[in-house]
Amino acid sequence: MARITMREAISKALWEEMERDPSVFILGEEVGVWGGSYAVTKGFFDHFGPERVKDTPIAESAIIGAAIGAALTGLRPVAELMTINFAFSAFDHIVNQAAKLHHMFAGQMKVPMVIRTVSGGGRQLGATHSQTPDAIFAHFPGLKVVAPGTPEDAKGLLKSAIRIDDPVLFIESATLYQVRGEVPEDEQLIPIGKSKIQRPGKDVTVVTYSKMLETSIKAADLLAKEGIEVEIVDLRTLRPLDMEPVIDSFKKTNRAVIVEEGWKSYGVGAEIASRIYEEAFDFIDAPIQRVAQKEVPLPYNQALEQLALPQVEDVIRAIREVL
């Protein structure tokens, strides 16, 4: 096991898959000569060449549309959208084309593509560049939405995403790129659509994913000093959603807090909470709590931005509420 960063883990997954399978190629803004706006594809252009690491115009519909078309011919494109905020410019191609073609043409067409993108706030980029609209994309059947919170999961899930025949939106978090974690040296494929207990505990179930896994772990560490044992379930995939570990954990703790970075209204927390109500109503000992972003476009000012984003203290407060 080596301790590597999230950035290195994602980069390794891409590199290994491109070495393994010549039908895998990358396209996106600044993925080539520049080396990736988050340096994930640094060195790829020189090694794999311009046909496999394709710089594109700033034209998100063209990027995703071209990836869909190439996927229809049997290739496995990995399209990079610089941030998920730019995915709105390609929204039709993601949710109305990539997610629909296989079904609408009765299985004749397959779209084995991955869209890598970056979600989340906290970097003073202002309202249009800081959103966490993950739940919006998870709304659409036909698309798979993956959002890892650890380097190990990022590597194993990205490799699986590249290999499966369905379109996958692979959501990364810019503020996690430098986070280090143990990643097995040998090849590991982590199946898409499996939630995971990242920390066992008996007192309360915290359900979270991506950047908020880190926040939740910090909260759990602090509460552990008081003897409160928090169990953390990491969703890892938002669609298809694997509720089994969540329900199993909840039946044990009877208390749940859901932590997400996006806005609360119509969000991941709303979905998880209602699933718990539907599937484990008799086990509820306290009203389920949701921790999420405050309902405001994210401001530029650092203090205001942090005020709007969910913090460790917010998670702790919510856990105390259900205990």
């Binding site: 190629f25 046909e51 394709k54 594109t56 115009p57 034209a59 519909s61 063209a62 995703i64 549309g65 071209a66 990836a67 869909i68 078309g69 190439a70 996927a71 229809l72 011919t73 049997g74 290739l75 494109p77 039709d92 191609h93 109305n96 084309q97 073609l101 296989h102 079904h103 609408m104 043409f105 009765a106 299985g107 004749q108 067409m109 397959k110 084995p112 059947p141 036909g142 798979k144 499966i164 025949d165 369905d166 298809p240």
Partner: protein
């Protein structure tokens, strides 16, 4: 005509394709009014020479992708009328097993990559099809058809620009039928000669009369050859006219019945081609009557096939949502 001559059977086959399209659509129109076809139904009547001439010029490896007015294209690409009709009726025997309907016909085994219902959205996908062929070293041209209305949306400009920047083997074909839904071209587009938009992307282009099958075929053969040899995109504007409304239930307030009648009487693509075949002694009236009769028979059988076909099974509702779970 030099270099574009065909065998008599081929001339007759193109005639038959146009007749099939028209008869299938006449039947579809009637079935729609009876409530047997749901959703939207966009008829191609009047535009038959466009796709018939264009697709007759392609080679087997060339991909075709179009918008939602796709019944004609589907038939030209080789989907049997009965399979088209079954899809219109939402039956399990339709080419999209009743999942797609009128706007989403496809048969990838015939290199027909679909009717697509979001205006302009299939253009970036067409660029991707050509990218896939380039990547894999295939000697194929992607033929992408769209209406005049699609040239005003961003997708068009992103895709056409990309095709030139990457030198993709795409033949962009604008079917200019003078109206985007009910809005005349000059009310929606800065240039009414659509091919001028290709100039802005340094893409060679030409314009052809879309009511004359022979002219469309000639222009298409030249254009496809240019794309194949030069490995760069080409833009072909085909001017045409739809005789029916945009879709069923179009009040047609944007054009006069005189205008429509004038086109129908003087520019009917089937009439023009019929006359061409007879005057040039390629086929006799009797030959063409026989073709019409056979096509009529085939379309009658297509309707019977579609009506007697089974509905898709409720238990298959979740089929084809994901590849992985199949």
């Amino acid at each position: 005509m030099g270099g574009f001559l065909m065998e008599k059977t081929e001339y007759l086959d193109l005639f038959k394709q146009m007749i099939l399209i028209r008869l299938v659509e006449d039947q579809a129109s009637a079935l729609y009014q009876k409530g047997k076809i749901g959703g939207f139904l966009h008829l191609y009547i009047g535009q038959e020479a466009v796709s018939t001439g264009l697709i007759s010029a392609r080679q087997e490896q060339d991909r075709v992708i179009t918008a939602y007015r796709d019944h004609g294209v589907a038939i030209n690409c080789g989907i049997p009328p009965k399979v088209v009709m079954a899809e219109l009726l939402g039956k399990a025997t339709g080419c999209s097993e009743g999942r797609g309907g009128s706007m989403h016909l496809a048969d990838v085994t015939k290199n027909f990559w679909g009717g697509h219902a979001i205006v302009g959205a299939h253009l970036p996908i067409a660029a991707g099809l050509a990218l896939g062929d380039r990547y894999q070293g295939n000697d194929a041209v992607t033929i992408c058809m769209f209406g005049d209305g699609a040239t005003n949306i961003g997708y068009f400009h992103e895709a056409v620009n990309l095709s030139k920047v990457w030198n993709l083997s795409v033949l962009w074909v604008c079917e200019n039928n003078l109206y985007g839904m009910g809005t005349a071209v000059e009310r929606a587009s800065a240039v009414s000669e659509i091919r001028q938009k290709a100039e802005g992307y340094k893409i060679p282009n030409s314009h052809v009369d879309g009511m004359d099958l022979i002219k469309v075929r000639e222009a298409s053969l030249k254009a496809i050859e240019k794309v194949r040899v030069n490995k760069t995109p080409y833009f072909l504007e085909i001017e045409t006219y739809r005789f029916r409304g945009h879709s069923m239930g179009d009040p047609e307030r944007y054009r006069t019945s005189d205008e429509v009648r004038c086109w129908q009487e003087e520019e009917d693509p089937i009439g023009i081609y019929h006359k061409y075949l007879v005057e040039n002694k390629i086929a006799s009236r009797e030959d063409l009557d026989l073709v019409e009769k056979a096509a009529g028979q085939e379309v009658q059988e297509a309707v019977q096939f579609a009506e007697s076909s089974p509905e898709p099974l409720g238990e298959d509702l979740f089929k084809h949502v994901y590849v992985e779970t199949e």
